[in-house]
Amino acid sequence: MTEIKTNGRPRTRQIKRKSNMNLLERLYLPEIIKGLSITFRQIFKPKVTFEYPDVKWQPPASFRGRPVLVVDDETGIERCVACGLCSRVCPALAIEVVADETELDKERYPKKFEINMLRCIYCGLCEEVCPEEAIVMSKEYELVFTSREEAIFGKDKLLTPASKLKDRLEFLRQMR
């Protein structure tokens, strides 16, 4: 390798290619046949395709799908106390919470809890900030809606039993 110097500083490098190829290599044909055999062997290697609607990808616990509200298995009541922290931290302003009082121990509950899925950016900040571990990111990645109204998910779509979110809840505890 020789360096060409302009004003004492190296500018461009002249790269010497391998010039001592033997006759067989210079004929190209044996090398091409080697290449063809590699291509041929590739045909029989296992494929990486997911045949999507038939076979679905199972995300790991660290996956951030659509955010959902956790419902405790024993009581059947959502954990959320409507503190509004998630709505405050949300960088995309996707969450709207309206609080109300309740007779239960937790004293407050969300009368209305809506996430606009067109605005949500799946950052997971709501989950991080939640003091009650009441909003977590699920594994669901298939979201379909045909109008803007449909994209606003209310409590009916958000409430999910904790048993379905086991993976994520355990993962969160490990990371804390």
Binding site: L36, T39, Q42, T49
Partner: protein, 338 residues
């Protein structure tokens, strides 16, 4: 002489056969490309996606055809017709087998039994450039024009070495009638007499059919789609079909000239067999051999990168052409001495 009716029936069968084979080839090519890239390829339409070609054809027929506003309408329409016409007329002289005997009449398994079939093929296949050049010229698009210019330069350059490499075959076989050339290989295939000639023919055939190491006329990364950038619908389909038909013809020619056509390797199984059965077997053997070569075409596509234009020209003029001339000289000398 064969009657007109028989000729018409034969040409209809040939055209249908080649149409089906090229449709199936598009599926096979997509499938094999996918396998080479660790994918599955089209497998949704019918079992294993076998009906994919039908879906493709239906789609392409119903697609809108757009002719650019400033294009030359006449030439734009004629160009794909020329391409397809040339592709389909080349195989008119290809003998797929020896003969069938029906009602005591001998029917040759070629549409036209021309005694200068060899020259006919060379003459017609060089006409294919017109379709590509005209399509590039009439589209009024810089990419089309560049692709067309490349195509014409490339095909004219490689036509020479293609023809010269076949001179060796003619010298060895002593005939320019294709079925005579095939018959002369009953015992030893020409590839053993003409290995250099075969390699020259193979490389030139790749260049003539615009297949991947030499697909400069349509080089996607540089030229969008090259000469057929402005084509859509069935006109694009015509170019596509012509390309695949050219591949089939090239492989069939290679089989006929170098791999002993319909003969089984080293064994003569046809003598004393019922001529009809022999004829059908011959067609099958012929196509099987050509199939292996088509598979080679596909493997090469996913192995070798595209040549640069100057590299292509250097290979054609400075390597293949002198080599082809030397091959002719050497074959001639050997023929004279032996």
């Amino acid at each position: 002489m064969e009657t007109l009716l028989i000729v018409i029936i034969k040409s209809a069968i040939f055209i249908l056969l080649f149409l089906t084979v090229s449709a199936v080839l598009t599926y096979v090519e997509r499938r094999i490309s996918a396998f080479i890239q660790d994918r599955l390829g089209p497998n949704r339409v019918g079992p294993f996606g076998l009906f994919q070609p039908i879906a493709d054809v239906v789609k392409i027929i119903f697609k809108e055809e757009i002719i650019p506003a400033n294009a030359d309408r006449t030439l734009h329409t004629i160009a794909p017709i020329i391409s397809l016409f040339v592709a389909y007329s080349v195989f008119a002289v290809l003998p797929l087998g020896e003969k069938l005997v029906i009602d005591g009449k001998e029917i040759k398994l070629a549409v036209a039994d021309v005694n200068i079939g060899f020259l006919y093929i060379l003459a017609l296949s060089s006409l294919g450039v017109y379709g590509i050049t005209l399509s590039g010229w009439s589209s009024n698009n810089k990419y089309s024009l560049l692709g067309a210019l490349r195509a014409s330069a490339q095909m004219i350059s490689y036509e020479l070495s293609l023809g010269l490499s076949l001179v060796g075959v003619v010298l060895v076989s002593g005939s320019i009638q294709i079925d005579e050339i095939v018959r002369s290989q009953a015992n030893v295939w020409n590839i053993f007499y003409q290995p250099v000639g075969f390699i020259i023919f193979l490389v030139s055939a790749f260049a003539e059919t615009n297949r991947l190491p030499f697909d400069l006329p349509e080089a996607e990364p540089e030229l969008v789609a090259g000469y057929h950038t402005e084509y859509s619908g069935m006109k694009f389909g015509a170019f596509y079909l012509a390309e695949y038909t050219n591949i089939i013809t090239a492989s069939l020619l290679m089989t006929a000239f170098y791999f002993g056509g319909w003969y089984f390797p080293f064994v003569d199984i046809y003598s004393g067999m019922n001529p009809n059965l022999a004829g059908i077997l011959q067609v099958i053997v012929f196509f099987a051999k050509a199939g292996v070569i088509i598979f080679l075409f596909m493997l090469v596509r996913w192995t070798l990168p595209r040549f640069r234009y100057d590299q292509l020209m250097r290979l054609g003029w400075q390597v293949l052409l002198p080599l082809a001339l030397l091959n002719v000289l050497a074959t001639g000398l050997v023929k004279m001495i032996v």
